[in-house]
Point group: C2
Chain length 429, copies 2
């Protein structure tokens, strides 16, 4: 990060004139007085504003023309302290924590400006002192991205990192991750790391760590308890079960969705109870089957991004599907209506995709329930046109699986076989 | 419908040789013996099969090469009987029933081959005798389409028909409709017929009317009770509340989704209880606000189909958005992640859309909860790039509203104003 990340033109000039760097704590007099930290901006921002992270945790943009006075309170240079080594307790299990960014790491935002990721063991232990009493936690910062910016290339990096720890003294691995796309990441890891011997929990936070109402600490403690005591493996998402602070739910990484924009209990296992609940330090197990169908860890870490998720709706222009074909997609996952339907107006383009040997899978925008394409004539037509019903796979998870499957094989028959094969609890009966 | 709809080549030849028409009841000897009705096929079907609707309600395709014998049991010609007039009871309220197709009308399938719609008052009364005791029902067949084939042009036809009955002696209007896209249709009617003085209920069925487990009768009875007794107006979807036959839920037509592929209680009001429940013939009202913000009925029945719903996911290719722009879209509704985000890699193309004056609205793929784009830097960037947060509008409903709004005005400011204006209970507080 440069000292002026994202600032340009007038706003850059303004910062330089006032000797303010991104990350500095400042007091600004404009219409009223604001105190906060100067935040970095993204490439496409205008040059009329500077962005301030307030104590409340919210960012505001201030028009530089309206700023009467800006005063530096604490310089970014003074804030960066040496990390102290945390002493290990040999009687406690070891946990590896990988940080990828998101709200859960946003305590750090206030000090350095939301981009430099500094989720060290010391910071963790100081903000959640209970952690030091249950595990020795090693941390590793992989990158720092809001989850809407996490791309398949980031999934690869996480998987490549975790792969190395299949033979380690860790009881489990935590991935701190933004919540928005957590279930896409968890499902990629579920497929690519099938058979991984120790449990992995993705943990996020709906409120940043230094806000009074933050759910970060409880989610972390619950996830670590789960990793240590569940005696299982697999990839899970560990988050609040509801608005109360009593229960952490661990969801199967291929059966979970973020179903609310802001609630703490935003994550839900589709059509089922969560696999595990941590209530008052006790673990309750709700699943009877193994997470993976394979026992041996044999990672397949490849991705083909040329896969599209097509949500059908009345008035969907079939030319959009044609464009997807023309962009060279190897697989198309339909998010059809009801039991797995799309309009007749789509048939001619679907036929083209079929003739080109593109894998087409059907899921439902109902989210819950199984597609069944033999009930109605229209479903049977789609079967004849080569669309494969994907049982009750969740659309987003089917998309990720198709990226993974087509990344690891190019043959249509293999793709079809693997899309329908249970690998990491992505189907339920 | 021709006598051989959809059949061609070998299968057409087979039917002609055996003097079988679509709609005939037949007995077929192949691997085992099948009894059922010969069904029509769609344009893109192969010529190797004929399709039979079995007594169970399911269709099967039979390979003509494997058919040993086909025998006509009842000819289609003998089945079409004259409709008898149903006598009106002057003491009962009058209800208009418009039929558009779908599973609810699929009793008819077995007799005529699933395409000719014949949901007459007599047939209704004979299959659901209770109806005649609570209302006089006039019926009108608008068309007969599975709901995945219902397009904006069909919405127009429904709205144009209903418009004529704003001054009538009907207590309410029922629309029999396939369930898959019912909530798209209900929201279009909610916007275009704002202020319509009498209540309208869309009714569907998850199991066809002549199957033992059908929910059609109870849904119809519940809907009619609702229309007669609720003393309200607005557009609702009336379906089973759950798997039990005790409760019919009436959902606000702009706040409802089909959330399960097959359950009877598939429809849910997002983030809230249904507006009305009909339990043991009693009506329970859960809403306190008026359905429409206007009192006067002033229909605006126009649609612009050049609107796209873009569901963002990791790996979404920004060129797909570019194609949408190039196809001349007037509005784009994003189904973003979490509080309303899309990846940074989308910004350059979003900028192009903004420069072209395309309306861009943000909803969330979480479905439930409100978008809030001021919390994170990335949301603020999207605001700067001209994306308008659409509060807690459901993505599919925002799409339909955008089609309606852009159909009725071309000016950006008007579009924006109307997209954010409460019209038919599409936002909640």
């Amino acid at each position: 990060m440069s000292e002026y990340t994202g600032y340009n033109g007038n706003s850059l000039e303004f910062l330089k004139t006032n000797k303010i760097l991104v990350g500095d704590s400042v007091k600004i007099l404009a219409d009223i007085t604001y105190s906060g930290i100067v935040m970095p901006r993204y490439e496409h921002s205008d040059d009329k504003h500077i962005v301030l992270k307030l104590k409340s945790g919210y960012n505001i943009g201030l028009e530089i023309n309206k700023i009467i006075k800006i005063e530096k309170k604490v310089s970014i240079g003074k804030k960066i302290e040496k990390n102290q080594e945390v002493e290990k307790n040999d009687n406690l299990p070891n946990i590896l924590l990988l940080s990828t960014g998101g709200t859960i790491a946003s305590k750090i935002d206030y000090r350095t400006g939301a981009v430099t990721p500094v989720l060290t063991a010391e910071e963790l232990n100081s903000s959640v002192p209970e952690l030091g009493e249950i595990a020795n936690i090693d941390t590793k910062v992989l990158f720092s991205e809001y989850s809407e910016n996490i791309m398949p290339k980031h999934w690869l990096k996480i998987a490549e990192t975790i792969k190395k720890y299949s033979q380690s003294n860790y009881a489990g691995i935590i991935i701190a991750h933004g919540t928005d796309t957590m279930h896409y990441t968890s499902s990629y890891l579920s497929f690519s790391l099938a058979g991984f011997p120790i449990p992995i929990a993705l943990v996020g936070s709906q409120r940043s760590s230094d806000r009074a109402s933050s759910d970060a600490a409880l989610n972390l403690i619950g996830a670590i308890k789960f990793l240590i005591e569940s005696k299982t493996n697999g990839i899970y998402i560990a988050m609040h079960q509801d608005e109360n602070d009593e229960t952490i739910a661990c969801h199967i990484g291929t059966r979970v969705r973020k179903n609310h924009t802001s609630k703490r209990g935003a994550f839900q296992t589709v059509g089922n109870d969560p696999a595990f609940l941590i209530v008052n330090n006790e673990i309750h197990k709700n699943i009877k089957t193994e997470f993976f169908t394979v026992n041996k860890f044999d990672p397949k870490i490849k991705i083909n991004e040329k896969v599209a998720l097509v949500k059908y709706y009345p008035g969907y222009n079939p030319n959009l599907l044609k464009n997807i074909i023309d962009l060279g997609c190897k697989a198309i996952i339909f998010e059809g209506t009801g039991l797995g339907h799309i309009g007749e107006n789509m048939y001619p383009v679907v036929k083209i995709a079929n003739e080109k040997g593109i894998f087409m899978g059907m899921t439902s925008q109902c989210i819950d329930g199984r597609v069944r394409m033999t009930v109605y004539e229209s479903g049977r037509d789609l079967l004849n046109l080569g669309i494969i019903p994907l049982e009750n796979m969740i659309p987003e998870i089917a998309l990720v699986k198709a990226m993974w499957v087509t990344g690891n094989t190019e043959k249509y028959d293999e793709i079809k076989k693997n899309m329908l094969k249970q690998i990491a609890s992505e189907f339920t009966t």
